[in-house]
Symmetry: C2
Subunit: 237 residues, 2 copies
């Protein structure tokens, strides 16, 4: 059975990388000794090696060793040698482009689906866990061969979800308006889960739980957006 953790962000303001969710991670990675890290999203243009080193330093505290995906890229089947994969945040378009380029989409999707590979994503890495990347917040710095993503869940994600700033004088659209525009296209029938920073979705034993204490905002086509709290049953969307 699939085991998936989709986090809105890797860091919350004022806390070091992946520290805010330490108890969650320690439980999630019980029994895992080695992790495959996919650094392709390259936040702020970090190199694959630099980004992998940052990840490795964090997981060393949990006695988990980290291998960067760029060390296995000529052989995506090697992903199956790992029990866990973590896809870090950065630019969603670049990430998805490289997952296609290195033929990793199918093997990740199938291995997570069969329960052989536990998945974690942060930010862009969570976004691509959804059906498509049509609801990313990122700048489209590269044209990927498709917007279709890993489809580990049957909805879309909007990480770093932020409520409209009613005091703002800036005329850019609010996140909620953007998601409404997404649903104004009749082919976009999937729901969108807006995950606030600090939140995550933990999917295991056939159940979905909202982590982090905050509520999440659910957008379905032709429905008023609504909130769910961590104690609510996750809706059938």
């Amino acid at each position: 059975m699939s085991k998936i953790l989709l986090l809105s962000t890797s860091s919350v303001h004022g806390a070091p990388y992946l520290e805010y969710c330490t108890p969650l991670l320690e439980k999630y990675y019980q029994g895992i000794k080695e992790l495959l890290f996919i650094p392709y999203a390259r936040p702020s243009g970090l190199s694959w090696e630099e980004y992998t080193a940052k990840c490795a330093a964090r997981f060393r505290k949990m006695n988990i060793s980290v291998v960067g995906a760029h060390h296995i890229e000529n052989n995506p089947e090697r992903i199956k040698d790992f029990g866990a994969v973590f896809i870090g945040g950065g630019n969603t378009f670049l990430l998805l482009n490289d997952l296609y380029k290195y033929s990793m989409i199918d093997v990740i999707s199938k291995s997570v689906g069969s329960g052989d590979l536990q998945y974690m994503g942060t930010s862009a890495g969570s976004n691509i866990g959804g059906l498509t990347i049509n609801t990313t917040n990122d700048m489209p710095i590269i044209y990927p061969p498709s917007f279709t993503a890993l489809a580990l869940v049957n909805y879309n994600l909007n990480p770093h979800y932020i409520d409209p700033d009613l005091g703002s004088k800036h005329m850019g659209e609010s996140r909620q308006t953007r998601i409404a525009e997404f649903h104004s296209q009749e082919n976009n029938t999937q729901a969108v889960v807006g995950l606030r920073e600090g939140s995550g979705l933990l999917i295991q034993d056939g159940k979905t739980m909202l982590t982090g204490g905050l509520s999440a905002r659910i957008f379905e086509p032709s429905k008023k957006p609504y909130e769910i709290s961590p104690t609510d049953d996750f809706p059938k969307i």
Copy 2:
């Protein structure tokens, strides 16, 4: 010779649609009696007809009649019957997708280039005046056949440019960081002009002028971003 006006936004906070730039528009549209309006960007999901009506109401004050592009879409060559085209803001992906769908890219690009068609864009409509839409802020609600845009100028635009909010606790990337990520890709060699709300670029008589009184921010690969003021000569980028 080309005559092009690329505005960062159609409205500034607290002012009605296209009112903040009235003197500029009155001068720009001197001698124009009829305008082709392209409503495909559909802000907030407005229909083509609703959006065209909004535009027509504004231009009526200048005694200019407005025809919506959806009334000529089966014959893009009819664009040549007009002396002026205005592409309104909304979603850049949807806009570009429909310009490809209705085969309007080449005819607009060529007619503006030859000086037969004067161009105005606001927001998404300015974005697509650049080489590509790789530096849009919009949500990718639809997958267009390409990110290549009208290329009326030899750089990219970032409308609604906003400076980093140093007080923010939100972990989403600043606009400047996003544009740096764009330039971290070696194929992205073009400069990006960050246009603050209220600003525009007026291109006529072979010259580019920055309108609206504010400075603009220029991003070139491997260079520190810099500001230009409306009294500066526009840089060769």
